[in-house]
Symmetry: C2
Subunit: 365 residues, 2 copies
């Protein structure tokens, strides 16, 4: 029988509650479909800091490295606002990305039709929106050295961060974008600031060359990242796949997510390179929303983004495409039926809690 | 009699046409109000490159340094897409910012009531919107060294940019934000990525300390820049003054500008520090929109952003507050009367060209 190893890192805030609903789906798939999921669980973020004084323990890092896929909830909260920089909750997530070499972050920005009116944009601009943002995740200003604060004396300090991109890093993320575009509408828009940044100049050159060499069948466009932010607001449906660097990707994917009106519902996948022998990619799946400490523990959080992240896991880590499709369809159906958690509640719908939403999706699955 | 030296850099594309309408206002103010404006004119961007092989000549740089204020049109266009990086059109603008030490970029994002429906956001979210974004303009990743592409051999290159901020740079831009907040709704939101960037950690600390020492009467909030982008889309009216670094400011001010639906109409001011002896600040005023090469030379460009930039010049460089108010009011009145250039045309309005729009505003002034 197939064994599929999942390592669960629920994290802080609403992470554990949302993860609870995914556990139900895992149990169901094991029972009804013989899916062979084996789960183990660890601590990350503030909860790891409270237990071990670090944002993720070495033991849990080893487990993450060994698993077929990591499911990640959320990290952070006011309780840990003043812990030292090196062990802040986010450090756990950043270390996972770096050590697992998860260079490709896939962030779909889709607008669930049932929620189009929740967007701050006019409904006709977002209805049916389906963008895939591909964000480089292990390079750029997030990890470049030097990254430090120097004391210059006289009360002056200097904060330094370094944006670094090598040809191979740009090549491989561009490759992911072109490959995925072929499974969609075959269009890629690459965003950088080549008019100001040398890394942007290189980015632009390498994407152009990669396109010419291997993916000339895909339509490629280049846009300055600031203009890209504008165009996302002006006419988001003009985009199919967007590929961009770590920092621009952070900003642009958040803006895109907010446009959909479905922020609380958006999943993400972070993928590594295929292993030379097995062809398997390391992977981590996480909701785009944060830990929402204000509503944690109340049983009212929306588990949809976490469940949709598990659907991406089924698709990208295990090739269970039919199951992924079915789970995504179940989410859409439940929304169509008018069931809502508090964050997406609107007049005429029925408000439910975390567990009830999870159960409704499972029933539809 | 007062002499007020203006140096005009119309630049490329629609820059010259838009500047033409400001010239009419200058002539009128000299004649009717004895304003004493003396103008000189130079080349910048692609037009400077065509004439001198650089994005701005040394002679014009000297004139810009000597003037009381610089009025800047726009630079760039497909004609110069392939000129060397060092002399690309943007280099002229970047050199002006750096050599004039224009560290404070003021970008109002206001929604003209007559144009609220042109926004892609729901009208109730932007109607009456009035945000002032203060962007640091001479530091950060735009100018930090090293900034280069290194050949690593084996077909690999490395693109490097460096984000650098010193305490004094953050202090002075924070000071501008707090001072201006006092003339508005007394609220400042500072944005950075302190969870990922050391320069963000320092930014946060220095803004907090500056606030505590000198501006405790102003309400201060901190937001991560990615969350800030989201909040701009979700609920833009929550903001009064936003202060942020050069690169985040570039992205966030463009998103904010697009939200207003008034993109083609937004001005900006870039200010230096007050001179120790005279108290005067060096300053450059420019529309937020670009050079729009596709419509250049047709007499149809919207001159409002350029005229509104001149209104900022009257206010910030010459203390002519009543004239600035009157000019801004004239713009709003003309829009209320239903006169529109093509870019903001809507059913029931009367479409006019660049000159007619300028004349209408002058008539209302
Ligand atoms: C938590 C934080 C470090 C992270 C990032 O900046 O990458 C988050 O904003 C994200 O987008 O996943
Ligand atoms: C033209 C370009 C160099 C410039 C910038 O990036 O600062 C522009 O986008 C702006 O915002 O003024």
């Amino acid at each position: 029988m197939t064994v599929r190893n999942l390592f669960l890192l629920p994290g802080d805030g609403i992470g554990p509650e949302a993860m609870g609903e995914v556990r139900k789906i895992i149990a169901y798939m094991n029972e009804a479909k013989n899916a062979g999921f084996v789960t183990d669980e660890g601590l990350v973020g503030g909860s790891a800091y409270d237990a071990h004084g670090v944002a993720i323990s070495e033991e849990d890092m080893q487990k993450a490295l060994a698993a077929d896929a990591v499911l990640f909830g959320a990290v952070g909260g006011p309780k840990w606002d003043d812990v030292p920089y090196e062990v802040r909750p986010e450090a756990g997530l950043l270390r996972l990305r770096k050590d697992l070499e998860l260079f490709a972050n896939l962030r779909p920005a889709i607008c669930y039709p049932a929620l189009a009116s929740a967007s701050s944009l006019k409904p006709e601009l977002v209805d049916g929106l389906d963008i895939l943002i591909i964000r480089e995740l292990t390079g750029g200003v997030y990890f470049g050295e030097p990254k430090e604060i120097i004391d210059l004396g006289n009360g002056q300090k200097r904060g330094i961060d370094t944006q670094v991109y090598d040809t191979y890093e740009i090549e491989r993320i561009a490759g992911v974008a072109f490959e995925l575009a072929r499974t969609r509408n075959n269009r890629v828009c690459s965003m950088e600031k080549r008019n100001v940044m040398k890394s942007g100049v290189l980015w632009n050159q390498v994407v152009t060359a990669t396109h010419k060499e291997k993916y000339a069948d895909v339509q490629l466009e280049h846009m300055l990242a600031d203009a890209g932010g504008m165009q996302l607001v002006r006419q988001p449906k003009q985009f199919d796949v967007i590929v961009t660097d770590n920092l621009f990707g952070d900003m642009l994917s958040d803006v895109a997510a907010m446009l959909t009106g479905s922020l609380g519902m958006l999943p993400s996948a972070s993928l590594g390179a295929p292993d030379a022998k097995t062809g398997k990619r390391k992977a981590l799946y996480e909701p785009v929303h944060g830990s929402a400490p204000d509503i944690a523990g109340k049983g009212i959080a929306n588990p949809i983004a976490m469940i949709a992240s598990f659907a991406m896991c089924l698709r990208y880590s295990f090739g269970l495409v039919a199951d992924a499709d079915a789970l995504e369809k179940a989410i859409a159906n439940v929304l169509d039926s008018g069931i809502r958690t508090g964050d997406i509640m609107s007049a005429g719908s029925r408000q439910v809690g975390t567990a009830e939403m999870g159960d409704a999706i499972l029933a539809e699955f």
